[in-house]
Amino acid sequence: MRGASQKTLRMALLRTRRRRNRAREGRTRGDDAAERPRRPPIVELRDATVVYPGGHVALERVSFEIARGEFVFVVGPTGCGKSTLIRTLIGEVRPASGEVLIAGHDIDRLRKRRIPHLRRRIGTVFQDFKLLPNRTVYDNVAYTLKVTGERRSEIRRKVPEILRLVGLQGKVHNYPDQLSGGEQQRVSIARAFVNHPPLLLADEPTGNLDPETSIGIMQLLYRINRTGTTVLVVTHDREMVDKMRRRVLALNEGRLVRDQAAATYHEESTSEFGVRVRAEMGVGEGHTNGEPIEPTASAPGS
């Protein structure tokens, strides 16, 4: 019994090691592919339909493409299929018909055992943060790396680095319940991004936060987006969406009702972005900076 379990354990370890090596090779191959002109979009849905057991149709013939490096909002009323979209992209639900492709790979053809490896390449952020309450900020972030079998020296290097990026370098050894909502969301973003995944999904990341904190979080997501990661944000916050001036996908009752490209989109630095959005929303630093605020700008907290 003991020998057998040791054997299976060793086999499992060998398998993951092999898989990791393969994943590493895959990554370098992918980098080579970057130089090639045609690269599949990071997310592509073709007539994707998702039906839950019980017959509820959560997504109906949804088709869209997201190019690498885009920043995309998904909006829509409650129950329109936004969360289902996220769950489909991480392979938690499978489409009943149509195709869902992540970086050119059909999720439905992915074997069950490969799904964890898909998720390592997709960062996820949720409204309720999903932090582990009995681990410090550091351990929460290091957790992702431990799961993927990262070397300890790498963990020691990467975790403080990412915590500096999200602005939590002073709270490394705090526990989640000692942090504010915005700080907790930053930890959760750090955890999602510590692997530098090519795709980051955020499901209502500012749903529990006040406007000022929300802008900070959006600014952080924008900063991550500017490193080349594709960011997809599901949100209720119409005002924020309007101010961000990015591409918007609107869902209603499982159907894609609007795919509005960023009309007035222009390149701006992260700090420019923060200042502009704050100013336009009439929140926080926008006032103190003494920058002109349009009086018609919608009042905070509406």
């Binding site: 019994m1 354990l9 499992a12 370890l13 993951t16 991480i90 392979g91 938690e92 069950k112 055992r113 799904i115 964890p116 490896h117 898909l118 998720r119 390592r120 390449r121 996820t124 999903k130 932090l131 582990l132 009995n134 957790y143 992702t144 431990k146 799961v147 993927t148 079998g149 070397r151 300890r152 955890r191």
Partner: protein, 302 residues
Amino acid sequence: MRRIFFFIAEAFRALRRSASPSLAAIVTVVMTTLLLGVFIPVIRASSTTTENVQSQLALYVYMYPDATKKQAQAAEKRINKIHRVKNTDFVSPNEGLNRLRENIGKSEIGKGITQLQGKNPLPYSVVVHPDDPNDLPAIQRAITPPGKHAKPISPAIQEVNSGQKAAQAIRTVTNAVKVMLTVIAALLLIVSLLLIANTIRLSIYARRREVEVMRLVGATNWFIRWPFVIEGLVVGLTGAAIAVGMLWIGKVTIIDPLAENFALIDNFSTVGFVPLIIVLLAASIVVSALGSGITLRRFLRV
């Protein structure tokens, strides 16, 4: 290797954190192992006494006093042909007298037997051993069929003594005791299995958030499962070790002194202590580890 340490560290972390459910699981394992450790030898002992009693059960077929040796031998041959008779013993009057003397010993009656003054009142007789003591009545019916005008299979046979009614009574009692103990032991085993499974389910339920996060950051199912299995192993091992320690103390302080004073206990061929311990340890570890591993399945649906 790094992973093994990670798994072990995670398992102990979980045990420390959920101390009271872990303690409950350990106590359950202790109780089950202890009860099994007492019941297995008792059941074993009661079945050995039953075997002893059963080996003594036989039919005593007595010839008429005036039957000759030839007639008696012919009768024995016929009895031997009866279905399910294992073998027969031919007992001459002299041998019968010797056996009687041995059985009765040197009491007053024994002295009376020695004073027969050369006359032997005993007839030829045949002792019939069955394949199975439960066949005795059938064999007896075959030798002397019931009914007024029915005749025994040999005219030399005077009577058949199924004898040893007391032994048969003992047999029924020990059988009943054996069945009862087995039923109680089985019930206890089932109850404690359910208890262990339930405790583990609770501990997993308490950590379902952790499992959820592990899945989100791309942990494989086995990666999630190992800490739980190790946790189960530790619980099983600790519980079994405590129980075995208690059994050993019980054996040294209670059973061993008894065995010295009463030859009776020595006669029982009980299970050896070492194999018993090995069986108990193995059983509790396997049950606990499997319990955690299997209970996790429902949380690991991709």
